[in-house]
């Protein structure tokens, strides 16, 4: 089983994970379309919090359109079925479903692992 392990204390807030995520999934240099986001908590307490889906599946349970399916442990949104009601966005325990005005369904991690390949401080770790 593959998984992403987060170490918030190692995150430096550089955003390389966000940029490569959007480039990978949208072919666009635009971290606002990433499925991983860093919350910057400055000036106090001076910490970073990485938000990315942990594949808990709660979104599938709350989706009224049955647009989210489990494929080998990864929850994937079917953009054809998604009505962008955003219930999953509000319900996500990780706050890791993201909205962008140009994208027709919430943006969510599909566990491709690209983010971990560019994380220099090792805050986003890829485990098989």
């Amino acid at each position: 089983m593959k998984t992403i392990v987060l170490h918030n204390n190692l995150c430096t807030g550089c955003s390389l994970c966000e940029v490569i995520c959007a480039l990978t999934h949208f072919r666009e240099n635009n971290p606002k379309k990433a499925a991983i986001h860093i919350k910057r908590q400055f000036p106090e307490p001076g910490t970073f919090a990485i938000r990315v889906c942990n594949q808990c599946g709660h979104c599938r349970e709350v989706c009224p359109s049955e647009a989210i399916a489990n494929k080998d442990g990864v929850y994937i949104i079917d953009p054809e079925k998604c009505t962008l009601c955003q219930i999953c966005v509000g319900e996500c325990p990780q706050k890791a479903m993201f909205i962008h005005k140009e994208v027709l369904c919430p943006i969510k991690c599909d566990l491709c692992g690209e983010c971990a390949t560019v994380c220099a401080p090792g805050a986003v770790e890829w485990r098989e």
């Binding site: 430096t12 807030g13 550089c14 955003s15 390389l16 940029v19 490569i20 959007a22 480039l23 949208f26 072919r27 666009e28 240099n29 635009n30 971290p31 606002k32 379309k33 919350k39 910057r40 400055f42 000036p43 106090e44 307490p45 001076g46 910490t47 970073f48 962008h100 005005k101 140009e102 390949t117 560019v118 220099a120 401080p121």
Partner: protein
């Protein structure tokens, strides 16, 4: 246009209008970005002889084609203007995240024109651009203003703001961003303040088009691999620029007591290791940076959070003022950041005033009764507040050390450590001639980043001046390109990422297909254009303006370079050689041939009409 946000935003503070115009293709291809855009626009648009703090001055804020892209440390935005501190060409860059946000909003450049009598701030939310009333933020600290604006507008806005020093036109006021990144030099904050603009808040949701995204991904992933496997990577990541502190002390280049010496007896109190252990609470990176040089600290004594202090501040507010505690330096740095002024110029101005006090050139009654002696931290705190408010002695000190020396007179000018009016960065140069030449010939005044040659100085024979001119010219040419691309130089400098990799990434982003040599030529063109700006703006500009203060001719009193000194003859030799390599005459004026060769014929003609050429 590949690599660009695609638009220029003009903001007229007098008329309170904003105008979005497409970035012109030829202009972008010829000037690339960042400092290139700035040099061109400032020369063309600011009327000759403009008052730097008048409505006729302009400020150009520019990103480069790599800013905000998938490239290591693609995190520079440059602010340029006619400097109120030096009276000539001025620019200063900052990291953080502002550059990326501006491009995601669809802009490469902001031009600020005119001046408002009302207090305003600028909000850019993609296409929606507004000037809003800033009354409730005016008077507040820069760090506090950023915090409040994020609360009021949303945490996804990136903010650049001035503090009280900028509002009160302190000539070395800076612009703050990302709770600890500053466009520190040349008085950018004073120009923003003179225009009535407190802050700029930006949110962008768009992407940056890339010519060859797959190519850039590949180049960048290889670059990241190089960076993260370099032997210096972990150490630089851990200490950032503070790592150089011990080295500077050992080499005798750590500025001490207003550059009287290069080694500080109590340097141990400013060393990186105890700072890391006792104060650093997080490693903070600018956009896209694997090197995260930002040391985010907390002071238990003062309760202050700060990005820093960085090396330059440790030197200028620490050893150079004989302050021997990193926690005190952190707090002085915090004061400078929140008041909104450059720690380098503030440190240099304070140490100059302290020396004047010690030599009896400044009397205690002139200092509002403050005992401004070297090492007196309480006095420094009080004076910094007075400078920012332009109160009492602060009125004079807000003008910078060169203007102070003119006012104080006597021999004081010897000890005002500045070139062109800009205070030295934190390197004592008597045993580092290339660094001195870098300060002398930098086109903004005595700043370190144009050509940081001090490491090479150690290997080239410290009391020899051979080869220095060539080295400085090479560094100035290459490093300028970093600020045209809109990226930080640290991956190249600290972990030796090959410059050709930058060229590849630049071409993958833009599709320009420029060679290294073509880029160097553009860099040289920019360097000559900023020289032309000085020529036009300062009567009689030339060799004299490149000369250092006379203190550099005194022998080193202590440390590893004890007894070493530079002579006027040696300094003159370096300068002659440098001018020769630049194709300038022996007064430092670019020749007609050089201007025309670089495609700056129109600039030459303009200068000739004004009677400003050879």
């Amino acid at each position: 246009m590949f690599g660009y946000g695609g638009n220029c935003l003009r903001v007229n503070l007098t008329k309170k209008t904003t105008e979005k115009t497409p970035l012109e293709r030829d202009f972008a291809a010829q000037w690339i970005g960042g400092r290139g855009f700035i040099a061109k626009l400032l020369y063309d648009e600011i009327p000759a002889g403009a008052n730097p703090l008048g409505p006729e001055n302009k400020m150009v804020i520019a990103t480069g084609p790599l800013s905000g892209t998938f490239w290591p440390s693609a995190a520079k935005i440059i602010f340029g203007t006619k400097s109120p501190l030096t009276g000539g060409y001025g620019d200063s860059n900052l990291g953080g995240r502002l550059m990326a946000e501006l491009k995601y909003a669809g802009y490469d450049i902001i031009v600020l024109e005119g001046a408002s009598t009302e207090r305003l701030y600028l909000v850019i939310d993609d296409d929606r651009v507004e000037l809003r009333d800033a009354t409730s933020y005016w008077g507040k600290g820069a760090l506090e203003t950023e915090r409040l604006l994020k609360l009021d507008l949303g945490e996804d806005y990136e903010i650049a703001t001035i503090g009280p020093a900028g509002e009160n036109l302190v000539r070395y006021a800076n612009i703050n961003h990302d709770f600890g990144r500053q466009a520190g030099r040349c008085g950018m904050g004073a120009v923003m303040g003179s225009k009535g603009l407190k802050a700029i808040a930006i949110r962008g949701t768009g992407g940056i088009p890339l010519y060859d995204p797959d190519g850039l991904i590949k180049i960048t992933k290889n670059a990241l691999k190089h960076i993260t496997t370099h032997p210096y990577f972990e150490r630089f990541r851990k200490y950032g620029t503070t790592d150089i502190t011990d080295w500077c002390q050992q080499k005798g280049v750590f500025p001490t007591k207003n550059f009287a010496a290069g080694d500080f007896a109590k340097q141990v109190g400013l060393a990186p290791e105890p700072m890391r252990k006792n104060m650093v609470i997080a490693d903070k990176a600018c956009f896209g940076c694997p090197l995260n040089c930002g040391n985010y600290t907390f002071s238990k004594k003062y309760g202050t959070y700060l990005d820093g202090p960085e090396y330059e501040t440790i030197g200028m507010l620490g050893s150079n003022c004989l302050v021997d505690s990193i926690e005190e330096v952190q707090y002085l740095n915090y004061l400078c950041d929140d008041l909104g002024m450059d720690t380098i110029a503030a440190g240099g101005t304070l140490s100059f005033a302290m020396e004047c006090v010690e030599r009896g050139l400044l009397k205690e009654e002139q200092l509002d009764g403050i005992n401004l002696r070297f090492g007196n931290v309480e006095a420094m705190k009080e004076i910094l507040g007075k400078i920012a408010r332009r109160e009492g002695i602060g009125r004079l000190m807000a003008e910078g050390s060169r203007a102070m020396a003119r006012e104080i007179g006597g021999q004081s000018g010897r000890y005002a450590m500045q070139v062109k009016g800009l205070e030295f960065s934190a390197y004592e140069c008597r045993g580092a001639p290339a660094m001195l030449l870098s300060f002398m010939t930098s086109d903004i005044g005595a700043h370190h980043a144009r050509s940081w040659a001090i490491v090479q100085d150690m290997d080239m024979g410290r009391d020899s001046v051979t080869g220095r001119a060539e080295l400085v010219k090479e560094l100035q040419t290459l490093r300028s390109l970093m600020e045209l691309f809109g990226v930080c130089r640290f991956p190249w400098l600290e972990v030796k990422l090959d410059f050709d990799t930058y060229v590849e990434a630049f071409n993958a982003a833009t599709g320009y297909g420029y060679s290294r040599e073509e880029l160097f030529r553009i860099s040289e063109k920019v360097w000559n254009l900023t020289r032309a700006f000085w020529l036009r703006e300062k009567d009689g500009f030339g060799r004299n303006d490149d000369m250092p203060p006379e203190r550099v001719y005194e022998p080193m009193p202590s440390g590893p370079t004890q007894g070493m000194k530079l002579t006027e003859e040696k300094v003159g030799l370096m300068l002659d050689e440098y001018y020769g390599l630049r194709g300038w005459d022996n007064n430092g004026i670019p020749t007609e041939k050089k201007f025309r060769e670089l495609g700056l014929g129109a600039v030459y003609d303009n200068l000739k009409r004004l009677g400003k050429t050879v």
